[in-house]
Point group: C2
């Protein structure tokens, strides 16, 4: 009998409180729901494995000692602080146990993403049962003593996190901040044709925006060259304190929704393990067949599973007279007063003994052979998959020589180039040379950001309808564009953590949308630095174009350089920020970032024409130094400068150059030094960042005592924060963005924020001792020039030609 | 004949390129699709109004002069920079024109949210046609000269933004960053039973996470006491450069999806205005009836509309031989080279004349009476709705006296209280006293954040299934919990901007999820400060609990105090940050924030027990000062201190107090001053922030020259940034969070980041001149104490009782 999985159990049967069945009543009779799977022994083994995983999870949450319940539980065996999440754990264990069977039977390569990753005890339990935990952490042996340590270390000082974390073998997904599991799953599946990514999505997580958007990732999956994602929507009914939306909408609505997302949903619902094992096994066989059909072009849709089980399944049914199993009360620790309340202690012991540990572990505490018979071998174990430790699979990119894309610069500052357009040619050839291991992500802005050259060799990934009028769309495209920064980020994270490479190009202001995701990824990288077995992965590279200073026309809402501040707050060992001022420096920085490992690299570079400042050779030297004196713009050679004009970012650099030219024209006796900063982290001392410049070097360039006028791309406070330990920090006067924005022209935008050439000249006059008197007329002239420039924009709607077309004067 | 709206046009007819119909062919014959709407004249007037709005939109994008095309277009009439978004505009105009008819006919109160708000010319055109633009901006008269100014100012220096913006009458929704329209719409509808919020959702925006999650907002809407939202999903097929997902999935999938979200979808699809007017009018009549049924309990679902029209509808069909109408090429400016290319100029003139302006405007440029006949009157005009200028409707909250919730503090620092639990009682009574104008939002954490007292008087809003086991759920609940920070934020913004009050409580780390939304709201508030007709609205209040220092057990992913850095980057005039260290200061701050207007207030306060430090009277004085000396903890009365121990945040304050006690015990001759900072903005100079403390006062408290050890809740660089202009800033040594986190105990968490009492004592010894020698033994003792404390946590899993139970010594 093949039942209709989709409506296998009617909704009304599923309402909590559930009948409490099974564990008190001796060995479960395994009732097979279908005839296709007739191996009763196998399901009994799956069930035993599940019991073992549940037992190990409860033990992690509660026990300091007495792991096998060799003696009656006493308060001294219980942890003083009870931490962890039981509610989702039995469901996670159920999925893992069943997936193991199909992996072993089919030899299917698979990884497991636990969306409800706060159920950390589950992932740890599987790794221990599969042996990979002991392989990774030899002190945690697969015996009673190892089990004791395993229990004790969980969420214990000096131990392991309570969530699925970088420390957890087999995971690419942290279980703290919810919403990203399905995007990570698709990222892992791209270009992994033999891989199935099983992704458990909690019904709490399913309420988040990023997850809600992620369902549509199937429109970007190429069945013929990508792997498959198997979403398992786990409806256990409750979040921390509330019911979940998807568990409480009518089942026809739920099925409509999932079909509307483009999936073929299968429902597995119930609470009696005896029934549920058969249903799940049968369903998994069916969906794996459907995935094969999908990949062979015989089916149009990926299947998915809706798993409806009680929250805290098999846990305490009632505590202190209130229902717990099947309710929000089992979200974290169902029995909270175990140490002090003998009744709770007794309930805990009853609960743990209900899994019959004596049948699951031998006298030495080793898992008995029977429960391991459905566990796959070697790298097929999901807790030991090399895909989940992507650095193991990482191959370096085949990179063309970036110098071959160089812009010729016969005279600095006299011709202009669109830097991102040049980088686009380099990226085009990176894509061509790495057809299976590099992807370019962006929220519909790759063309707008002028990286269009990539479309000479590839297309945008698109697996929905394509019309004759469309351009550059194909299922196998290497450019991934969706109007969701969350998806771009999530896909790329999943792709990188499984051992591939990529770059995310984005409007600068809107990268704030993924601040929280960046934070979590940076924390992941930071944590992996301390975990020897985690092999380095490719860096997460951001290219922020369409930046604050060129959003004059889009106005205030598009102007925000604050992502840099978010980035710099994270651990210095994982974050890098680059502000290349022209095309050749962008090429050099871009090449460097694509070669790097385990960093988050943020590159801010404009798409609008900027002056070509450095020959390729100079650009390489300048980027290697990270910051340096621009000799041709300075007139202090062999002398001490009177003032340092520093800059970081393309527009601020242009304005500094123009200010230097004005000063040199009008005050030729003034010794001006122009310093450009490409690598922002060079500004910090070496104690604060690995790229930090030693104080002596810093003082030599910025001087310990001369006025420094620093024209910065972002918020001024960032430069103060990076330099506040420097000798001359009191002399550093920073100009930058200060939330003065409107719809205007490029130069007027600079003037609104006082980063313009005229204001910089006035800054210098105000700060160089004695100059205020000497240059009083010049100061007034500058002020007049600003007024004139502003009046011109108001009258004509554009900047004056002198400003728009300004180049470095050749005779200087 | 009542047609089946849902499948009124078959999908295959809708594929671009569309047949180009209508505007070249003389007046459109109005074909009515149904018999229900038989007033042909009315639809002709709607059509004329639509033509006028389209004409005004094109004029804004292109024209400097010659607004009525009184003479042939010349290059001098054209703006030098062509900016703006045409693609979405005719669709926005179409909706607005048709909504006007039903508003006028039914007297229905309605506001309009333009999700594709980059189509700014549309909203401005309607406001001008409806007369509200001239009422708001008298210089922009409703005649030819006014029209000329209207055109010229659009996206012109000194003019108005190109998106729907705070400057636009009738809007509560900025059109820059996409994804929030539907959440804003629901926020506006809550507690507005007579209001219908029409919300146009672009198919680009529909790909974002926040929008995808927002559809489920209908589970939180109470038909009997809330207003209605009418989502209009506008499928014009393309984003900037790509097709959109929802326009390219099979229509059955689309309908499944929308039904799965719980709506009753109606499709209006086509490109022939003659047909489309009838379809839209009939559909709107039907959905308004369905909304009435929904609100009367006769129907279970809200209706919605899917509007499929060509992108850039009625714009140039082809330019330079390439299709433009119906493709992504009409996203922004369909004719880009108008000034230089006579063919483009001719096309523009042909395009504009196709709307037959001579029929729409009289010789003086005034809209003819006929096209205004479907425009509603007075405040029913969507561009003049007081709901869209919420300050007009704002009533102050009825606030209980917060002093009545005070904790008794007979001796400071000796008893503990959970501050948020106390605030919960105050909020309970705020909710009770303001049953229709205050809501509490949170991502499922109101109980977890210990605000549970609110459930004594209200429930969680829930309009899906409720089971007997559930608690505190009801359709009319005032607490809104959904596992989406985006929805909490979006709903609250919509609620506030329509003149109501609220508070968003959230885990501190995960508030980063809405960084970008906060940025946009802060920019909105900043912009409205310069717009006289925008009346002040209630502040957006964040309560960040479950903060970084008490996420020791949840580990690294839950530890992030960086939202403060994001906040402080925004305009000083709109942001406020408070770190009350105990229950009474939290009450005082909470009351203050609920009374304030036009700010974003961020309150960071713990839910764990903290020492009671201030009596209510002292708390009020301390919060009013914003920062001050804690007299009882200091021993420098009448003398100059040797060291200042400063603190901000509850845990850092506790550690500073303990450090002060240690210093006073072991080094009684040392003069220690303890300073607590509640209002972080007091640290800035008055030139930087309105709350800034004058330098003289600051120097008096922090001293100009003594060492200051500042123990801070967040990242240390923030304090350096705020104080770098202060006299003694080189002497300020800041301790704070430095991304050293793991799963541990509270005190070990402090030790990991060196904000603990022992480290602070060592800091003081290292910094007070001469003390290093004198206190060498004490320094070593402190170091030993730390090692002991850490060893204890590793052995026992919790902090030592001396640390856990520490109170201020009574004999000091």
């Amino acid at each position: 009998m093949v039942v209709d999985q989709k409506h296998a159990n009617h909704d009304s049967e599923l309402k909590p409180p559930f009948d409490f069945v099974g564990r008190d009543k001796g060995p479960y009779p395994i009732i097979l729901a279908t005839e296709r799977l007739s191996d009763m022994d196998t399901l009994e083994r799956v069930h035993a494995y599940w019991r073992a995983a549940n037992y190990l999870a409860v033990g992690q949450i509660y026990l300091l000692d007495n792991p096998l319940l060799a003696e009656p539980l006493r308060p001294a065996h219980i942890k003083p602080r009870l931490l962890g999440h039981w509610g989702t754990t039995p469901g996670l264990n159920f999925c893992f146990a069943h997936l193991n069977r199909v992996i072993a039977e089919r030899g299917q390569d698979m990884i497991y993403i636990a969306g409800p990753g706060h159920g950390g005890p589950a992932a740890v339990a599987h790794s221990w049962l599969e042996g990979s935990y002991t392989e990774t952490y030899p002190a945690i042996t697969q015996d009673a003593e190892g089990m004791r340590k395993l229990f004790r270390q969980f969420s214990f000082p000096g131990g392991i996190p309570s969530h699925v974390a970088p420390e957890t073998p087999g995971s690419i997904h942290e279980g703290g901040e919810l919403g990203y599991s399905l995007a990570h799953a698709y990222g892992a599946a791209f270009d992994n044709p033999d891989l199935v990514v099983a992704c458990v999505i909690g019904d709490g997580e399913a309420e988040t925006g990023p997850l809600a958007a992620s369902w549509h990732s199937n429109k970007f999956l190429d069945p013929s060259r990508d792997g498959a994602v198997l979403p398992i929507l786990h409806l256990n009914g409750y979040k921390i304190a509330n019911p979940t939306i998807l568990s409480r909408i009518p089942e026809p609505d739920l099925l409509n929704l999932l079909e509307g997302y483009g999936y073929r949903p299968h429902i597995v619902a119930g609470h009696d393990p005896a029934v549920m094992h058969g249903l799940m096994a049968d369903t998994l066989d069916q969906v794996l067949d459907e995935i094969a059909d999908f990949q062979a072009g015989r089916a149009a849709r990926l299947p998915m599973i809706v798993l409806r089980t009680p929250k805290g399944w098999t846990g305490p049914r009632e505590v202190d007279g209130r229902p717990v199993e099947g309710t929000w009360r089992s979200h974290q620790v169902p029995l909270a007063a175990v140490r002090d309340n003998p009744a709770h202690l007794a309930l805990l012991e009853e609960w743990m003994r209900s899994y019959r540990p004596e049948e699951l572990f031998d006298a030495e505490g080793r898992p008995v052979a029977e429960i391991l018979q459905t566990v796959p071998a070697g790298p097929l174990r999901m807790s030991a998959s090399p895909h989940a430790n992507g650095g193991e699979l990482l191959r370096p990119l085949v990179l063309p020589d970036f110098r071959e894309y160089a812009v010729e610069v016969p005279e600095p500052g006299t011709a202009t180039t669109e830097p991102t357009r040049v980088l686009g040619r380099f990226l085009r050839d990176v894509i061509a040379a790495n057809p299976d291991t590099f992807r370019l992500m962006g929220p519909d802005e790759t063309d707008s950001n002028r990286l269009s050259a990539v479309f000479e060799v590839t297309d945008r990934a698109w697996n929905a309808e394509i019309l004759p009028v469309d351009e550059n769309l194909a299922p196998g495209g290497r450019v991934m564009e969706v109007l969701s920064e969350h998806l771009c980020q999530g896909w790329l994270e999943g792709y990188l953590l499984t051992g591939r490479h990529g770059l995310f190009n984005c409007y600068e202001a809107f990268i704030h949308i993924v601040d929280a995701m960046f934070n979590q990824h940076a924390k992941w990288l930071d944590a992996t630095r301390k975990i020897a077995w985690r092999r380095p992965v490719a860096s997460l590279n951001y290219l922020l174009s369409s930046h604050v200073w060129r959003q004059d026309h889009n106005g205030f809402s598009h102007q925000d350089p604050g992502f840099l501040d978010v980035v710099v707050n994270k651990k210095a060992s994982v974050v890098r920020v680059y502000l290349p001022p022209d095309a050749n420096t962008l090429l050099s920085v871009g090449d460097h970032c694509l070669r790097s490992r385990d960093y988050v690299n943020v590159i801010v570079a404009g798409k609008q024409p900027v002056l070509d400042l450095f020959t390729m050779e100079e650009a390489i030297a300048h980027c290697t130094r990270g910051l340096g004196i621009v000799e041709w713009a300075s007139n202090d050679a062999g002398a001490e400068p009177d003032v340092v004009l520093a800059c970081a970012g393309d527009v601020p650099t242009l304005e500094v150059l123009a200010a230097a030219a004005l000063l040199r024209e009008h005050l030729p006796q003034l010794k001006v030094r122009v310093v450009n900063v490409v690598d922002l982290m060079r500004l910090q001392p070496p104690s604060e960042h690995p790229h930090g410049m030693p104080d002596a070097e810093f003082d030599a360039i910025f001087t310990p005592d001369k006025p420094v006028v620093f024209n910065f791309h972002g918020y001024p406070s960032l430069i103060h924060g990076l330099t506040y330990r420097r000798t001359g920090h009191d002399n550093i006067h920073v100009r930058g963005y200060k939330e003065e924005g409107t719809t205007t022209t490029p130069f007027d935008m600079a003037m609104l924020n006082d980063i313009d050439r005229y204001h910089l000249v006035m800054d210098v006059i105000d700060r160089v001792p004695g100059l205020r008197v000497e240059a009083a007329h010049l100061r007034q002239h500058m002020s007049d020039a600003r007024l004139h420039a502003r009046a011109h924009t108001r009258a004509y709607g554009e900047d004056t030609p002198e400003i728009r077309d300004w180049t470095w004067p050749g005779d200087m």
